[in-house]
Amino acid sequence: MSIFVNKNTRLLVQGITGREGQFHARQCAAYGTNVVAGVTPGKAGQKMDDIPVFNTVMNAVKATGANCSMIFVPPPFAADAIMEAADAGVEMIVAITEGIPVMDMMRVKNFLSGKPSRLIGPNCPGIITPGECKIGIMPGQISKPGGPIGVVSRSGTLTYEVVHQLTCQGIGQTTCIGIGGDPVNGTNFIDCLDAFQKDPATAGIVMVGEIGGTAEEEAAAFIQQHVTKPVIGFIAGLTAPPGRRMGHAGAIISGSSGTGQGKIAAMKACGITVCENLGTLGELCASVFGK
Protein backbone atom coordinates (compact mmCIF):
# COMPACT_ATOMS: atom_id res chain seq x y z
CA MET A 1 0.00 0.00 0.00
CA SER A 2 0.96 3.61 -0.38
CA ILE A 3 -0.59 7.05 -0.42
CA PHE A 4 -1.58 9.27 -3.38
CA VAL A 5 0.32 7.42 -6.16
CA ASN A 6 0.98 3.78 -7.06
CA LYS A 7 1.76 1.42 -9.94
CA ASN A 8 -1.54 2.26 -11.63
CA THR A 9 -0.78 5.98 -11.81
CA ARG A 10 -0.68 7.23 -15.41
CA LEU A 11 1.66 10.18 -15.69
CA LEU A 12 1.72 13.06 -18.14
CA VAL A 13 4.55 15.59 -18.13
CA GLN A 14 3.84 19.27 -18.79
CA GLY A 15 6.98 20.75 -20.30
CA ILE A 16 8.29 17.37 -21.51
CA THR A 17 10.29 18.88 -24.38
CA GLY A 18 12.30 21.22 -22.11
CA ARG A 19 15.75 20.27 -20.83
CA GLU A 20 14.73 19.33 -17.28
CA GLY A 21 11.34 17.96 -18.32
CA GLN A 22 12.94 15.61 -20.81
CA PHE A 23 15.71 14.41 -18.49
CA HIS A 24 13.37 13.73 -15.59
CA ALA A 25 10.57 12.23 -17.70
CA ARG A 26 13.19 9.70 -18.83
CA GLN A 27 14.37 9.11 -15.26
CA CYS A 28 10.77 8.51 -14.11
CA ALA A 29 10.11 6.11 -17.00
CA ALA A 30 13.37 4.28 -16.27
CA TYR A 31 12.23 3.85 -12.66
CA GLY A 32 9.08 2.11 -13.88
CA THR A 33 6.53 4.94 -13.83
CA ASN A 34 3.86 4.75 -16.56
CA VAL A 35 4.75 7.93 -18.46
CA VAL A 36 1.89 8.03 -20.97
CA ALA A 37 1.96 11.56 -22.40
CA GLY A 38 3.71 14.88 -22.62
CA VAL A 39 2.28 18.36 -23.12
CA THR A 40 4.04 21.26 -24.83
CA PRO A 41 1.83 23.82 -26.62
CA GLY A 42 2.64 23.87 -30.33
CA LYS A 43 4.44 20.54 -30.37
CA ALA A 44 1.48 18.14 -30.74
CA GLY A 45 2.27 15.14 -32.90
CA GLN A 46 5.92 14.96 -31.85
CA LYS A 47 7.27 12.19 -29.67
CA MET A 48 9.75 12.30 -26.80
CA ASP A 49 11.28 8.81 -27.02
CA ASP A 50 8.06 6.78 -27.43
CA ILE A 51 5.90 9.20 -25.46
CA PRO A 52 3.31 11.16 -27.51
CA VAL A 53 3.27 14.95 -27.09
CA PHE A 54 0.02 16.96 -27.06
CA ASN A 55 -0.84 20.66 -27.28
CA THR A 56 -3.14 20.65 -24.25
CA VAL A 57 -3.63 18.64 -21.06
CA MET A 58 -7.26 18.01 -22.06
CA ASN A 59 -6.18 16.30 -25.30
CA ALA A 60 -3.52 14.27 -23.50
CA VAL A 61 -6.01 13.06 -20.87
CA LYS A 62 -8.61 12.13 -23.50
CA ALA A 63 -6.10 10.20 -25.59
CA THR A 64 -4.13 8.42 -22.86
CA GLY A 65 -6.20 8.32 -19.66
CA ALA A 66 -3.49 10.18 -17.74
CA ASN A 67 -4.52 10.86 -14.12
CA CYS A 68 -1.41 12.57 -12.80
CA SER A 69 0.67 15.47 -14.10
CA MET A 70 4.26 16.43 -13.36
CA ILE A 71 4.97 20.09 -14.18
CA PHE A 72 8.33 21.39 -15.45
CA VAL A 73 6.90 24.60 -16.94
CA PRO A 74 8.97 27.80 -16.31
CA PRO A 75 7.76 30.04 -13.45
CA PRO A 76 5.87 32.71 -15.45
CA PHE A 77 3.61 30.06 -17.02
CA ALA A 78 3.55 27.41 -14.28
CA ALA A 79 0.44 28.67 -12.47
CA ASP A 80 -1.50 28.50 -15.73
CA ALA A 81 -0.16 24.97 -16.30
CA ILE A 82 -1.41 23.85 -12.85
CA MET A 83 -4.87 25.32 -13.50
CA GLU A 84 -4.98 23.73 -16.96
CA ALA A 85 -4.28 20.32 -15.42
CA ALA A 86 -6.99 20.80 -12.79
CA ASP A 87 -9.43 21.99 -15.44
CA ALA A 88 -8.78 18.80 -17.42
CA GLY A 89 -9.69 16.75 -14.34
CA VAL A 90 -6.19 15.50 -13.49
CA GLU A 91 -6.41 14.04 -9.97
CA MET A 92 -2.81 14.52 -8.88
CA ILE A 93 -0.71 17.51 -9.92
CA VAL A 94 2.96 17.58 -8.95
CA ALA A 95 4.55 20.99 -9.57
CA ILE A 96 8.35 20.86 -9.54
CA THR A 97 8.90 24.45 -10.75
CA GLU A 98 10.69 26.81 -8.36
CA GLY A 99 10.01 30.54 -8.41
CA ILE A 100 6.28 30.77 -9.15
CA PRO A 101 5.13 34.23 -7.96
CA VAL A 102 3.19 34.14 -4.68
CA MET A 103 0.34 36.14 -6.26
CA ASP A 104 0.05 33.48 -8.98
CA MET A 105 -0.10 30.71 -6.37
CA MET A 106 -2.86 32.55 -4.50
CA ARG A 107 -4.90 32.50 -7.71
CA VAL A 108 -4.13 28.79 -8.09
CA LYS A 109 -5.22 28.00 -4.51
CA ASN A 110 -8.46 29.81 -5.09
CA PHE A 111 -8.99 28.03 -8.42
CA LEU A 112 -8.35 24.58 -6.90
CA SER A 113 -10.65 25.00 -3.91
CA GLY A 114 -13.67 22.79 -4.33
CA LYS A 115 -12.07 20.85 -7.21
CA PRO A 116 -11.09 17.19 -6.74
CA SER A 117 -7.48 17.72 -7.88
CA ARG A 118 -4.66 17.45 -5.36
CA LEU A 119 -1.62 19.70 -5.84
CA ILE A 120 1.81 18.72 -4.50
CA GLY A 121 4.35 21.56 -4.45
CA PRO A 122 5.33 23.81 -6.10
CA ASN A 123 9.10 24.10 -5.56
CA CYS A 124 9.24 20.47 -4.49
CA PRO A 125 11.02 17.22 -5.39
CA GLY A 126 7.74 15.35 -5.99
CA ILE A 127 6.48 12.03 -4.66
CA ILE A 128 7.70 8.46 -4.86
CA THR A 129 6.14 5.14 -3.91
CA PRO A 130 9.30 3.01 -3.97
CA GLY A 131 9.14 0.07 -6.37
CA GLU A 132 5.91 1.37 -7.96
CA CYS A 133 6.32 4.86 -9.35
CA LYS A 134 8.46 7.97 -9.10
CA ILE A 135 6.94 11.34 -9.97
CA GLY A 136 9.58 13.99 -9.54
CA ILE A 137 13.26 14.74 -9.48
CA MET A 138 14.38 12.62 -6.54
CA PRO A 139 17.03 9.95 -7.10
CA GLY A 140 15.09 6.67 -7.29
CA GLN A 141 17.86 4.25 -6.36
CA ILE A 142 18.17 5.45 -2.74
CA SER A 143 14.67 4.37 -1.74
CA LYS A 144 13.66 0.91 -0.57
CA PRO A 145 10.28 -0.60 -1.49
CA GLY A 146 7.85 -2.30 0.83
CA GLY A 147 7.43 0.15 3.71
CA PRO A 148 6.71 0.50 6.54
CA ILE A 149 7.75 4.17 6.92
CA GLY A 150 6.16 7.24 5.34
CA VAL A 151 8.27 10.36 4.78
CA VAL A 152 6.96 13.92 4.40
CA SER A 153 9.25 16.93 4.06
CA ARG A 154 9.40 20.62 3.17
CA SER A 155 12.96 20.16 1.90
CA GLY A 156 14.04 18.25 -1.19
CA THR A 157 17.60 17.42 -0.24
CA LEU A 158 16.58 16.47 3.29
CA THR A 159 13.94 14.11 1.90
CA TYR A 160 16.74 12.31 0.08
CA GLU A 161 18.94 12.38 3.18
CA VAL A 162 16.18 10.82 5.31
CA VAL A 163 15.24 8.19 2.72
CA HIS A 164 18.90 7.25 2.18
CA GLN A 165 19.54 6.86 5.90
CA LEU A 166 16.39 4.75 6.32
CA THR A 167 17.44 2.52 3.43
CA CYS A 168 20.97 2.18 4.87
CA GLN A 169 19.35 0.94 8.09
CA GLY A 170 17.36 -1.62 6.09
CA ILE A 171 14.09 0.25 6.66
CA GLY A 172 11.83 0.60 3.58
CA GLN A 173 9.33 3.34 2.75
CA THR A 174 5.67 3.29 1.74
CA THR A 175 5.57 6.73 0.10
CA CYS A 176 7.89 9.75 0.33
CA ILE A 177 6.54 13.22 -0.39
CA GLY A 178 8.26 16.57 -0.69
CA ILE A 179 5.59 19.21 -0.12
CA GLY A 180 7.86 22.06 -1.20
CA GLY A 181 9.39 25.15 0.34
CA ASP A 182 7.10 27.91 -0.90
CA PRO A 183 4.88 29.95 1.43
CA VAL A 184 1.75 29.13 -0.63
CA ASN A 185 1.58 25.48 -1.62
CA GLY A 186 -0.90 22.67 -2.24
CA THR A 187 -0.76 19.54 -0.08
CA ASN A 188 0.45 20.29 3.46
CA PHE A 189 1.87 18.26 6.35
CA ILE A 190 -1.57 17.54 7.78
CA ASP A 191 -2.92 16.12 4.47
CA CYS A 192 0.04 13.73 4.34
CA LEU A 193 -0.07 12.80 8.04
CA ASP A 194 -3.80 12.04 7.75
CA ALA A 195 -3.20 9.83 4.68
CA PHE A 196 -0.29 7.99 6.35
CA GLN A 197 -2.38 7.43 9.47
CA LYS A 198 -5.10 5.83 7.30
CA ASP A 199 -2.67 3.75 5.21
CA PRO A 200 -2.47 0.25 6.76
CA ALA A 201 1.01 -0.38 5.29
CA THR A 202 2.53 2.67 6.99
CA ALA A 203 3.71 1.91 10.54
CA GLY A 204 5.64 5.09 11.30
CA ILE A 205 6.26 8.56 9.88
CA VAL A 206 9.29 10.83 9.48
CA MET A 207 8.42 14.51 9.16
CA VAL A 208 11.04 17.05 8.11
CA GLY A 209 10.14 20.67 8.70
CA GLU A 210 12.09 23.88 8.57
CA ILE A 211 12.06 27.37 10.03
CA GLY A 212 9.39 29.86 8.95
CA GLY A 213 5.60 29.82 9.04
CA THR A 214 3.48 27.70 11.38
CA ALA A 215 3.02 24.46 9.40
CA GLU A 216 5.06 22.37 11.85
CA GLU A 217 3.18 23.67 14.90
CA GLU A 218 -0.18 22.92 13.23
CA ALA A 219 1.06 19.47 12.19
CA ALA A 220 2.23 18.75 15.75
CA ALA A 221 -1.21 19.60 17.14
CA PHE A 222 -2.82 17.36 14.52
CA ILE A 223 -0.47 14.50 15.40
CA GLN A 224 -1.33 14.78 19.08
CA GLN A 225 -5.04 14.48 18.33
CA HIS A 226 -5.24 12.17 15.31
CA VAL A 227 -2.02 10.19 14.71
CA THR A 228 -1.43 7.01 16.71
CA LYS A 229 1.65 5.88 14.72
CA PRO A 230 5.13 6.90 15.96
CA VAL A 231 6.44 10.13 14.39
CA ILE A 232 10.05 11.31 14.20
CA GLY A 233 10.59 14.99 13.45
CA PHE A 234 13.51 17.10 12.27
CA ILE A 235 13.66 20.88 11.84
CA ALA A 236 16.10 22.35 9.32
CA GLY A 237 17.62 25.82 9.53
CA LEU A 238 18.40 26.05 13.26
CA THR A 239 21.50 28.13 12.57
CA ALA A 240 19.70 30.65 10.34
CA PRO A 241 19.95 34.26 11.49
CA PRO A 242 16.53 35.95 12.00
CA GLY A 243 15.29 37.91 9.00
CA ARG A 244 17.45 36.09 6.48
CA ARG A 245 15.80 33.81 3.95
CA MET A 246 17.46 30.39 3.82
CA GLY A 247 17.12 28.81 0.38
CA HIS A 248 13.35 28.45 0.42
CA ALA A 249 11.00 31.40 0.03
CA GLY A 250 9.02 30.17 3.04
CA ALA A 251 12.04 29.57 5.28
CA ILE A 252 12.36 32.85 7.12
CA ILE A 253 12.11 33.79 10.78
CA SER A 254 10.12 37.02 11.07
CA GLY A 255 9.83 38.58 14.51
CA SER A 256 9.48 35.82 17.09
CA SER A 257 7.46 33.44 14.91
CA GLY A 258 8.78 30.58 12.84
CA THR A 259 11.86 29.84 14.96
CA GLY A 260 13.35 26.38 14.99
CA GLN A 261 13.42 26.19 18.78
CA GLY A 262 9.69 27.03 18.94
CA LYS A 263 8.89 24.30 16.44
CA ILE A 264 11.00 21.72 18.25
CA ALA A 265 9.31 22.57 21.54
CA ALA A 266 5.85 22.28 19.93
CA MET A 267 6.74 18.92 18.39
CA LYS A 268 8.14 17.52 21.63
CA ALA A 269 5.07 18.70 23.55
CA CYS A 270 2.87 16.71 21.14
CA GLY A 271 4.76 13.45 21.59
CA ILE A 272 6.96 13.59 18.50
CA THR A 273 10.49 12.22 18.82
CA VAL A 274 12.70 15.07 17.61
CA CYS A 275 16.03 14.29 15.96
CA GLU A 276 18.56 17.04 16.69
CA ASN A 277 21.51 15.63 14.75
CA LEU A 278 20.80 14.93 11.08
CA GLY A 279 23.74 12.52 10.81
CA THR A 280 22.13 10.15 13.30
CA LEU A 281 18.56 10.22 11.98
CA GLY A 282 18.77 6.73 10.49
CA GLU A 283 19.98 5.24 13.75
CA LEU A 284 17.24 7.05 15.68
CA CYS A 285 14.60 5.69 13.26
CA ALA A 286 15.94 2.18 13.71
CA SER A 287 15.63 2.46 17.47
CA VAL A 288 12.17 4.11 17.46
CA PHE A 289 10.54 2.09 14.67
CA GLY A 290 12.37 -1.20 15.29
CA LYS A 291 13.27 -3.22 12.23
Binding site: Q27, I96, P125, P139, G156, T157, Y160, E161, G279
Partner: protein
Protein backbone atom coordinates in the same frame (compact mmCIF):
# COMPACT_ATOMS: atom_id res chain seq x y z
CA UNK B 1 38.75 30.16 6.93
CA UNK B 2 40.38 26.81 7.61
CA UNK B 3 38.27 24.23 5.82
CA UNK B 4 35.33 23.85 3.43
CA UNK B 5 32.57 21.24 3.64
CA UNK B 6 30.45 20.64 0.53
CA UNK B 7 27.43 18.41 1.14
CA UNK B 8 25.16 17.71 -1.83
CA UNK B 9 22.37 15.20 -2.21
CA UNK B 10 21.65 15.60 -5.91
CA UNK B 11 18.06 15.51 -7.12
CA UNK B 12 17.55 17.96 -9.94
CA UNK B 13 21.23 18.87 -9.58
CA UNK B 14 23.31 16.10 -11.15
CA UNK B 15 26.39 15.12 -9.18
CA UNK B 16 28.56 15.06 -12.33
CA UNK B 17 27.76 18.73 -13.00
CA UNK B 18 28.48 19.58 -9.37
CA UNK B 19 31.81 17.69 -9.46
CA UNK B 20 32.88 19.53 -12.64
CA UNK B 21 32.09 22.82 -10.90
CA UNK B 22 34.02 21.94 -7.76
CA UNK B 23 37.07 20.81 -9.76
CA UNK B 24 37.01 23.93 -11.96
CA UNK B 25 36.64 26.24 -8.96
CA UNK B 26 39.44 24.48 -7.07
CA UNK B 27 41.77 24.83 -10.09
CA UNK B 28 40.86 28.44 -10.78
CA UNK B 29 41.32 29.60 -7.20
CA UNK B 30 44.38 27.36 -6.57
CA UNK B 31 42.63 26.40 -3.37
CA UNK B 32 44.88 25.76 -0.38
CA UNK B 33 42.37 25.10 2.42
CA UNK B 34 41.19 21.50 2.72
CA UNK B 35 37.88 20.71 0.95
CA UNK B 36 35.71 17.81 2.08
CA UNK B 37 33.08 16.72 -0.46
CA UNK B 38 30.15 14.46 0.29
CA UNK B 39 27.94 13.56 -2.69
CA UNK B 40 24.96 11.30 -3.14
CA UNK B 41 22.06 11.07 -5.56
CA UNK B 42 21.54 11.54 -9.30
CA UNK B 43 24.60 10.56 -11.41
CA UNK B 44 26.70 10.04 -8.28
CA UNK B 45 29.06 7.45 -9.83
CA UNK B 46 29.98 9.84 -12.62
CA UNK B 47 30.49 12.63 -10.07
CA UNK B 48 32.78 10.52 -7.89
CA UNK B 49 34.82 9.51 -10.95
CA UNK B 50 35.31 13.18 -11.93
CA UNK B 51 36.52 14.06 -8.43
CA UNK B 52 38.83 11.04 -8.24
CA UNK B 53 40.39 11.67 -11.68
CA UNK B 54 40.78 15.43 -11.17
CA UNK B 55 44.16 15.12 -9.50
CA UNK B 56 43.01 17.79 -7.02
CA UNK B 57 43.40 17.28 -3.30
CA UNK B 58 39.69 16.84 -2.56
CA UNK B 59 38.73 14.73 0.43
CA UNK B 60 35.63 12.61 -0.05
CA UNK B 61 33.21 11.47 2.64
CA UNK B 62 30.62 8.69 2.62
CA UNK B 63 27.82 10.38 4.57
CA UNK B 64 26.96 13.64 6.31
CA UNK B 65 28.25 12.47 9.69
CA UNK B 66 31.53 11.27 8.17
CA UNK B 67 31.89 14.59 6.28
CA UNK B 68 31.37 16.69 9.41
CA UNK B 69 33.81 14.58 11.42
CA UNK B 70 36.47 14.71 8.68
CA UNK B 71 36.37 18.48 8.22
CA UNK B 72 36.31 19.05 11.98
CA UNK B 73 39.28 16.73 12.52
CA UNK B 74 41.32 18.45 9.78
CA UNK B 75 40.66 21.92 11.16
CA UNK B 76 41.47 20.79 14.71
CA UNK B 77 44.77 19.21 13.68
CA UNK B 78 45.69 22.47 11.88
CA UNK B 79 44.99 24.46 15.00
CA UNK B 80 47.12 22.10 17.09
CA UNK B 81 50.12 22.34 14.78
CA UNK B 82 49.79 26.13 14.42
Amino acid sequence: MKGILINIFGGILRCDILAEGVVQAARKTQITVPVVVRMEGTNVEEGRRILAESGMNLITAVDVKDAAQKVAAIVKSQEETA
